[in-house]
Symmetry: C2
Subunit: 196 residues, 2 copies
DNA sequence: TAACCAGTGGGACAAATGTCCTTTTTAAAA
DNA sequence: TTTTAAAAAGGACATTTGTCCCACTGGTTA
């Protein structure tokens, strides 16, 4: 009933297996690194690579015409991005930006197709990863709509107390889908309640 | 910039190919039918089948403790449901209920695995279908948050004018993520604006 | 026909959230 | 240390949305 709330998503199995392929010398897989706050992908652009996070945290978000950001996911170890465009050959829908410094694997679209076709285990891991992304998103938005901000924060803090030390307030607000002002208000009220 | 707004989702390629497999006598694939307003899957239960819609419309939704429904997708021809649990072997997160009478294909989990392993084209279609579900959901929720109800309705009506004749108001409201009252209010204001 | 129910539409008020702007705090740079 | 910029916190007010009602309609059933 609450596992989905895990805020920074991971996929240990996928990163472990990719690591193994890499160590075996698969020339489809390359290493890259980015500093903090680096914009790796930009919404509505075309890319020909799939990334997989080995270390660090990134945010995946959509921004509208007014510059408002809405965060889709916080990506941790083992999470991939840029993979959706392998199948549809369309433009990216999300921007991805590193929060902490990042170490990633990168695989070209062709290399990714190659792996999917020739490696059944890899194929299954990707299917599972996609399915998990869907499963994860479903309850999140419905919950955020159905409950007031306070409840949302409470749950987040319970599962991830170090939250505010790693992720800036603005990003948390954009994740919940409210303004910073509203987030602060809710936090203050929570403090007063627990203090009294 | 607006294709995603298509409210009732379809996947012609997938249904065509499945139809073909069925006609060729694949014993993994079976036919089933349901009347309108029939609850086919219920949240938090376990199922061992994947369904694919040949004809009709269904809604896929999550409901919370208070009975509030939040609609994830309206499923049309070619959309599958119950497929996420093939990979994770967990309980269903969504309930699925037919809106109109439904004709579907059903495939057991084992049969589905079979097809994924032995039929590369089927495998690719499923990968694509999963990727599309993710792509579709991302902008939808961010949009609904960022813009007032009115704007959301306007877009829906523009893309799908016959909307209110096929889908009950309550479902539309649950899809947008607001109460029926708010939906009505917005509709009224729109009417007044266009009238003046 | 009468009774009933689900779906629809809306009034009045309460609560939640956003907007705008200012102050405080923190952390980095000079 | 001082200076500066960015992040965080919050006051005051406007707007949006929700809650709780009640009224109206059409179709079904006793």
């Amino acid at each position: 009933m609450s596992h989905w709330l895990k805020m920074i998503r991971t996929n240990p199995e996928l990163v472990a297996y990719t690591e193994k392929l890499f160590q075996q010398g698969s020339h489809n897989i390359h290493e890259e690194a980015f500093g903090a706050k680096h914009k790796i992908m930009e919404q509505d652009h075309r890319y020909r690579k799939v990334y997989l996070i080995r270390e660090g945290i990134a945010k995946c978000y959509i921004s509208d015409e007014n510059g408002k950001e809405f965060i889709q996911e916080f990506l941790g170890e083992g999470m991939e991005f840029g993979e959706l465009e392998v199948f549809s050959n369309k433009l990216t829908i999300c921007s991805v930006e590193s929060i902490t410094p990042l170490k990633v694997f990168s695989v070209s679209h062709d290399g990714f197709h190659q792996l999917l076709k020739t490696d059944p285990h890899f194929n299954m891991l990707i299917l599972k990863a996609l399915a998990d992304k869907i499963r994860y998103k479903a309850p999140r938005h419905s919950y955020q709509h159905a409950y007031p901000i306070e409840d949302n924060i409470l749950r987040l803090k319970k599962l991830f107390p170090e939250l505010t030390e790693v992720i800036p307030k603005k990003d948390i607000a954009n994740y919940i889908g409210v303004t910073t002002r509203s987030l602060n208000r809710a936090l203050k009220e929570l403090k007063e309640k627990s203090g009294a």
